[in-house]
């Protein structure tokens, strides 16, 4: 049941190593702080889940952020009502997101192609509006759902367990250990490795093969006697549960849930992440998620002062020119840089960064006459 092919085992091992050593290799890139590394791991989970739907079946969901948001709200409510422990929070986040996915998927999957995308987008925008204004008692609207000191926390109260965090607000904990900073990151990292493993299993399973069949020719699948609906629905729900897990983790590492997490721009973001990295590949979406989060957090923080310091070695006039030109691409201009990168990748590397890597490997090997690997799995 836990069997993986030799190649996948190696991949899993390398992946685990890369994830766990993040604090080391991200340090020279200026990204080795717990806040961002947690986001790296969480959005990678989100992207892996999205890829199970988009990569395997080719169904482009434009409303995946809804499940992320649902997961977050569920986790925060679990903190408020049940316990500050993260286990029930994550469990409920996954289950409730799965339930939402079941309902939304049931309706959306009646259509294919662009109609499916529009349906999911409509459902997600509906969830967003509900969270933003209509269901304010549950979601606290624009301000976001926050913890309070006098929340009931039934289980904690019944067990008489003291909460972590002293006199102020309690903080989320795993069996009594506060989930902050690096510990929080390693929890996310462990779950990321687990989801990567699950995704490997799905890609290699007959179920995954059926999904690929649906992607390449749906009609033929139906003619061969396959009832594709349950397969599609299962893929949609699994993907929604991954998103719910990511949403729950967002709330675990930072206990607030805001409606903006469900906005269509967030749904668009996850599509960008997947395409940027490489649709349908195992590792592609993860890389895409990291690149986008890196731009969002690090590039946007570079300002003129930093550029001036960097180009201090140039003569005065040159320094001014370099700083003036580059300042358009960092800070408030980080969207521009990301947009350019995205255009370049879609035009020259339709298979995303993973394709770029494979092409590079192929070019290096060509001299030796070995055939390049087909497709990046």
């Amino acid at each position: 049941m836990f069997h993986l092919s030799r190649k996948d085992q190696v991949k899993l091992a390398i992946f685990a190593l890369v994830v766990v050593t993040m604090p080391i290799w991200l340090a020279p890139l200026g990204a080795a702080y717990p806040g961002l590394m947690q986001k790296f791991a969480i959005y990678a989970i989100f992207a892996i889940g999205f890829n199970i739907l988009f990569g395997l079946t080719g169904y482009l969901s434009f409303g995946h952020a809804a499940f992320l948001g649902v997961g977050s709200y569920t986790a925060v409510w679990s903190f408020k009502l049940l316990s500050m422990d993260i286990l029930p929070a994550l469990l409920f986040a996954v289950l409730v997101a799965g339930l939402f996915a079941l309902v939304i998927g049931f309706f959306s999957l009646r259509r294919t192609g662009i109609y499916f995308s529009i349906l999911t987008l409509a459902f997600a925008q509906m969830c967003y509006s509900l969270a933003y204004s209509v269901l304010t008692p549950i979601t606290n609207g624009e301000t976001g759902l926050l913890l309070a000191r006098d929340d009931p926390r039934v289980i904690d109260a019944a067990l008489g367990a003291g909460t972590v965090g002293g006199a102020g607000l309690p903080s989320p904990a795993l069996l009594g250990n506060s989930v902050t900073g690096y510990f929080g990151f390693y929890i996310c990292a462990a779950l990321l490795i687990l989801t990567f493993y699950i995704s490997q299993k799905i890609f290699a399973s007959p179920f995954g093969l059926a999904l690929r069949g649906i992607k390449s020719n749906q009609t033929r699948m139906i003619y061969t006697g396959f009832n594709i609906r349950p397969y599609m629905l299962a893929a949609f729900v699994i993907s929604g549960m991954f998103a719910g897990l990511a949403g729950g983790l967002l709330a675990v590492t930072d206990p607030i849930a805001g409606a903006e997490r469900m906005r269509w721009t967030e749904s668009g973001n996850i599509v960008l992440m997947t395409i940027l990295g490489g649709v349908g590949t195992l590792i592609g979406p993860v890389i895409g998620a990291w690149v986008i989060k890196y731009f969002e957090n690090i590039f946007s923080a570079i300002n003129k002062n930093m550029l001036n310091a960097t180009f201090d070695f140039l003569p005065d006039g040159m320094q001014n020119i370099a700083v003036t030109v580059l300042s358009k691409f960092v800070g408030e201009g980080w969207h521009l840089t990301l947009g350019l990168l995205f255009v370049l990748i879609v035009v020259f590397l339709p298979g995303g960064l993973v394709e770029g890597y494979l092409k590079l490997v192929a070019r290096l090997r060509r001299g030796r006459g070995t055939k390049p690997e087909a497709g990046g799995k």
Binding site: F2, A31, E142, T143, Y186, A190, I256, R261, N303
Partner: protein
């Protein structure tokens, strides 16, 4: 076979866990080492870093970038560069123009994207990576509340920027969060007397309200204030945020029997709704034998510019305006103008003042230790910042000061000359009981970040 592979997996997993534990352990020890201290202690790191986290992209980017300019000017003045700006008029002043406690201030910037999640990501980066001792900046109440809660948890002081909703210092207030900007409740109290004077005491008002927390709090506050005047509220209608076309909401106004339209909209919403209401011919209408009027309770210069001619003659409130005649406002306008070549907006002003107030509080406290700085800010009475005598109230960390009532200029001489100050509601009248909004500040003792 499968058993063997299980073992290999098991081995891998153990290796992974082992590696994780090894990597994690030095971090835990470092955490422990700070235990008796506080987050990002500048005396330990040798650097004073302020974090300026404002929307540079997204809906409120324009106001955010203005605010950032204000912050950068404040850092210059704190470090003794430039002409000193408000440090010349601010009383009582503890800063000496050589940085804070004798050390120069540095800063880092971030983009909140007008999004609470991105705002918190930015604030965490500033605190965890850049070692910020104080974080400041926002253009929405959502951003303010989100960052304030995060900073409180991490034990870092947060000075909010432009946030007008009641929640920031109301039900979501925090010990580590401070607001200089006024709020919706004060807007309502401030605008009511002027409205009574201009439009009489027997008006019938129709509210269009942006459908989110800020809109609701403002609607509630303005409704209460106008009803106290004797006005009747005909209807309160919620409009979705970010709507482009308001005609479906404006048509019912015509037959509602109302003679005043109150737009509880901000930013793009107001820039769309006000011109459309004017184009609808509402202002030329007669209703109940009176001239029909439109009111926008919360104004900003950038919105007024965006709304163009429609803003002429419209009454609203502001936190500060560059045309004020007091020494502080003149000094700030001159200093900002010299730096950037244009008059400052209220967004730039509140950012500038917040940065100076924090730096000054540290100087007075003689320490960066957050509880000491908080105590220095609480109940701090000051003057010369452009808003007249001001109190940083200790009960809810809200600045209590006079509120400006402004009116769209009929004959603007430049694109900055769009709003005229028509009245100032004195501080005593806009003082309210902090208990009305609930919420609690929480403890002084800092958490470890």
């Amino acid at each position: 076979m499968s058993k063997l592979i299980m073992n290999r997996r098991g081995l891998l997993r153990t290796m992974g866990a082992g590696a994780a534990a090894t990597l994690a352990s030095p971090m835990f020890f470092t955490r422990g080492a700070w235990a008796n201290n506080y987050c990002n202690d500048p005396t330990a790191s040798g650097k004073i870093v302020f974090g300026f986290n404002v929307p540079q992209t997204g809906t409120y980017a324009e106001e955010g970038l203005e605010q950032l300019k204000g912050y950068q000017l404040a850092v210059k003045h704190i470090n003794g560069e430039g002409d000193g700006g408000l440090l010349k008029t601010f009383k009582p002043l503890a800063l000496e123009g050589n940085g804070v406690l004798g050390r120069k201030v540095e800063f880092v910037t971030g983009d909140t994207q007008t999004n609470t999640d991105a705002a918190r990501d930015g604030a965490r980066r500033m605190i965890e990576r850049d070692g910020a001792i104080m974080v400041t900046g926002c253009v929405t109440t959502g951003e303010a509340v989100a960052q304030q809660a995060l900073c409180h948890e991490l034990g870092v002081i947060y000075m909010s920027g432009l946030t007008h909703g009641n929640d920031t210092t109301g039900k979501d207030k925090r010990r580590y969060g401070f607001r200089h900007f006024f709020n919706a409740h004060q807007s309502g109290v401030a605008i009511a007397p002027i409205l009574g004077q201009e439009y009489g005491n027997d008006r019938r008002a129709y509210h269009l309200t942006a459908d989110y927390n800020w809109g609701w709090t403002q609607e509630e506050s303005i409704k209460a204030a106008t009803e106290a005047l004797g006005w009747e509220t005909v209807a309160t209608v919620r409009t979705p945020l970010g709507l482009g076309d308001y005609s479906q909401y404006l048509t019912p106004v015509l037959n509602s029997g109302a003679d005043v339209l109150i737009l509880n909209h901000y930013g793009h919403d107001m820039v769309n709704s006000l011109p459309q209401a004017v184009q609808f011919g509402l202002r030329e209408r007669q209703a109940n034998g009176k001239q029909f009027e439109i009111i926008v309770p919360m104004f900003s210069e950038l919105m007024a510019v965006g709304a163009g001619d429609a803003v002429k003659g419209i009454i609203g409130t502001q936190n500060w305006n560059w045309q004020l005649e007091d020494e502080g406002s003149k000094a700030f306008t001159q200093s900002y103008g010299a730096e950037y070549g244009e008059p400052p907006s209220q967004s730039a002003h509140t950012g500038y003042v917040q940065a100076i107030l924090y730096a000054d509080a540290v100087q007075r406290a003689g320490s960066f230790y957050p509880p000491e700085v908080i105590k220095a800010l609480e109940e701090f009475e000051f003057d010369g910042m452009g808003n007249g005598p001001t109190l940083y109230r200790g009960d809810d960390h809200q600045c209590i000061k006079e509120v400006l009532v402004v009116r769209g200029n009929e004959n603007p001489t430049s694109r900055f000359d769009v709003l005229n100050v028509v009245g100032k509601t004195p501080r005593d009248e806009v003082t309210y009981d902090p208990a009305i909004f609930g919420g609690e500040l929480g403890p002084y003792e800092p958490n470890q970040c």
